[in-house]
């Protein structure tokens, strides 16, 4: 039985919490501040887009949140765990069990079939063969690829590959999915189709999605839009507010 104080604790604990996170690259001995003292909280079940013009630090922020890159300073807390001090292998293990990734270029393993690509993550988690095969097929069905389980990436269209990537991201039962420009290589119909699937997963299973994107189609569907400018948060607004999408598109085009 959860006590009243614990309930309050659960309520205030964000899924992702960034405190004064900075990432500074040394490019030719000139420090470049890609992410600049970002404070951000993302709650479970959010469908959040991080937007901004090229070079604003979207991908770097996503990499830092996903543990693919270490912050130069600041703290990143995921599910109550401070990951900013994790060692490399500790971080890999954390990613495996907590974070799903969807990349712009799909990045499937070319020699594996769709099913094997999805299964692979569960294999790394040590899930028995029968269970992971069943789950992989279920996940592929959930992204409307039940009939392409044995197709290799080269036999799938870009949209289909990205849907396999979504299924793969969900295979580890992550706490959230980080999607870096997931629709950038897709046409409108395919992009909308993919977003429908992601929205459905968000709605039905409360799966948290954090996008880094330029794409107005993603921005329109996001529940919250965080705009970055020169590595810092310029605005953080819920969508649906009058003029938000228009304002964001303008920022993206700057």
């Amino acid at each position: 039985m959860i006590k009243e104080n614990d309930k309050q604790e659960i309520k205030i604990m964000a899924l992702i919490e960034l405190k004064k996170v900075s990432k500074i690259y040394d490019e030719n001995a000139v420090p470049v501040r890609a992410v600049n003292e970002v404070d951000l909280k993302i709650e479970p079940g959010e469908f959040t887009a991080i937007v901004g013009p090229s070079g604003s630090g979207k991908t770097t922020l996503l990499n830092v949140v996903g543990g693919l890159d270490k912050p130069t300073s600041g703290t990143i807390i995921i599910n109550g765990t401070d990951i900013s001090t994790f060692k490399t292998d500790q971080m890999i293990s954390f990613r495996l069990h907590n974070i799903g990734f969807v990349f712009q270029a799909y990045n499937l393993i070319p020699v594996f079939t769709a099913k094997e690509n999805v299964e692979f993550i569960m294999l790394l988690q040590g899930i028995p063969k029968e269970e992971r095969e069943k789950k992989a097929i279920e996940l592929l069905e959930s992204v409307d690829l039940g009939d392409r389980v044995n197709s290799k990436p080269t036999e799938l269209s870009g949209g289909q590959q990205q849907r396999v990537a979504v299924a793969r991201a969900l295979a580890s039962k992550p706490s959230f999915v980080l999607a870096d420009e997931p629709t950038a290589n897709l046409d409108s119909v395919t992009a909308n189709n993919l977003l429908d699937i992601m929205e459905k997963l968000n709605k039905d299973h409360q799966m948290t999605f954090v996008f880094s994107t330029h794409d107005a189609r993603v921005i329109k569907r996001a529940h919250r839009v965080v705009t970055l400018k020169d590595g810092a948060i310029d605005s953080d607004l819920p969508t649906g507010q009058a003029g938000v999408e228009k304002e964001i598109v303008t920022v993206n085009e700057t």
């Binding site: 693919l68 890159d69 990734f101 393993i109 020699v111 299964e119 692979f120 580890s172």
Partner: protein
């Protein structure tokens, strides 16, 4: 699935994998075959020297070893010879009379080693009979028949059935002359041997010298060279007053050749392995650099670096194993084929016979060499994979994912 992924990765670029496979196969094949040729050439030379006249073990008096005089004969030599021939390890024994003398023809004369033998027993100990190119082995001439080498016959201007006069110091130190008639001309792989050695019946020598049946040398042929060390030790202990020598003592140059051969083999194999090492490293490195983004993704989604490292190692080990198996099969087949048919080097016969080497070479390879060479090739393959594998574990996933290739 790591194994499955490695296997699938190997065949995603068939050309590249085949290059590694062929390199390992050829490396192992060349290694096995060339070592077999080297050992075979040494072994054939040793065997032909043993067969020609040396036999496995020889016994002399100590004085005879210092100065090769007929008067330094083995006391009670014929009885000792009979005792030795009764040993189960011994095939037969040739009790010989050895005299340094002069062979003269009407046109010239040369210094020679006269070997007095019992032709029937000698046949069981050496194969001089098989080297006869003209005439017959002590057959056709009843009085004082003699076998001479082709080279000597040419130098003295003699032919089959020609008369040859031998002069030598007898047991009582008197100078003796006797006329012999050439019953056969032999030609071995060794020109120096053919030029310096003549064979006569020892009974003819006894008659010429008016001497007792003395002997200076007991040449022992064993049933197998496996018995060499034990029989040698046994005889050395039993006849401690005599000088017992194995072929290794009698022909130290052969033993030395073997040591050279080992060094030569090590250098040769070292070159093959180094070439393989760099070749495989280069190819695997290309393979790794082509897949940087993929490795980045694998690490990003949760594959531990050690597993990525192992993935590359497994790919190389699979290739090395396949290359090793095919190379070993090819090498074994080639060695087997030529060990039966022999490699004909008659084009170089003149040069080879000057060194006492046979013109047909039979490659052989002791069984353990197959294991050693195959292991060395596979280890080379694994070592070659280490550097490319280390490259992968140093990847930063955030950078690797952005790589296009």
């Amino acid at each position: 699935m790591l194994l499955a992924l490695a296997w699938k990765n190997i065949w995603r670029n068939k050309k590249r994998s085949l290059i590694i496979l062929v390199a390992i196969t050829l490396g192992l094949w060349a290694g096995l075959f060339s070592v077999a040729v080297m050992i075979g050439s040494w072994d054939t030379t040793v065997n032909s020297t043993i067969d020609r006249n040396l036999s496995h073990i020889q016994i002399h008096t100590k004085e005879f070893k210092d100065e090769s005089l007929i008067s330094f004969f083995i006391p009670d030599g014929n009885n000792i010879s009979d005792e030795i021939s009764d040993l189960k390890e011994v095939k037969d024994v040739s009790a010989r009379v050895l005299i340094e003398g002069m062979a003269s023809s009407p046109s010239s004369s040369r210094g020679v080693n006269i070997i007095g033998i019992d032709p029937d027993r000698e046949k069981n100990v050496t194969t001089i009979e098989n080297y006869i190119v003209e005439g017959e082995y002590f057959n056709g001439i009843k009085r004082n028949p003699i076998l001479v080498g082709k080279k000597l016959a040419d130098k003295l201007g003699l032919k089959l059935h020609s008369k040859i006069v031998l002069s030598f110091q007898s047991v009582d130190t008197t100078l003796t002359y006797a006329a012999f008639r050439i019953v056969g001309i032999y030609k071995t792989e060794s020109t120096p041997f053919d030029e310096a050695h003549i064979f006569v019946r020892k009974s003819d020598l006894y008659k010429t010298m008016n001497s007792q049946p003395i002997i200076n040398e007991i040449a022992i042929r064993l049933n197998s060279s496996e018995y060499l060390d034990t029989t040698y030790t046994l005889l050395k202990e039993k006849y401690s007053s005599l000088f017992v020598e194995s072929w290794k003592d009698l022909a130290p140059e052969l033993e030395m050749t073997y040591e050279f051969l080992i060094v030569e083999m090590q250098i040769f194999l070292g070159i093959i392995l180094a070439a393989l090492l760099f070749g495989i490293t280069n190819t695997m490195l290309m393979s790794v650099l082509d897949r940087v983004r993929e490795f980045g993704v694998l690490i990003a989604v949760g594959m531990k670096r050690i597993r990525v490292f192992l993935l590359i190692m497994i790919e190389t080990i699979i290739l090395s194993l396949f290359g090793g198996i095919i190379g070993m099969a090819l090498g074994t087949f080639t060695i087997w084929y030529f060990s039966d048919k022999g490699i004909d080097l008659s084009l170089f016969s003149e040069g080879l016979s000057a060194w006492g080497m046979p013109t047909i070479l039979y490659p052989i390879l002791p069984l353990y060499f197959y294991g050693v060479l195959t292991t060395m090739i596979i280890i080379t393959g694994i070592l070659a994979a280490v550097y490319p594998s280390i490259k992968t574990i140093k990847l930063r996933p955030a950078d690797a994912i952005r790589t296009y290739g």
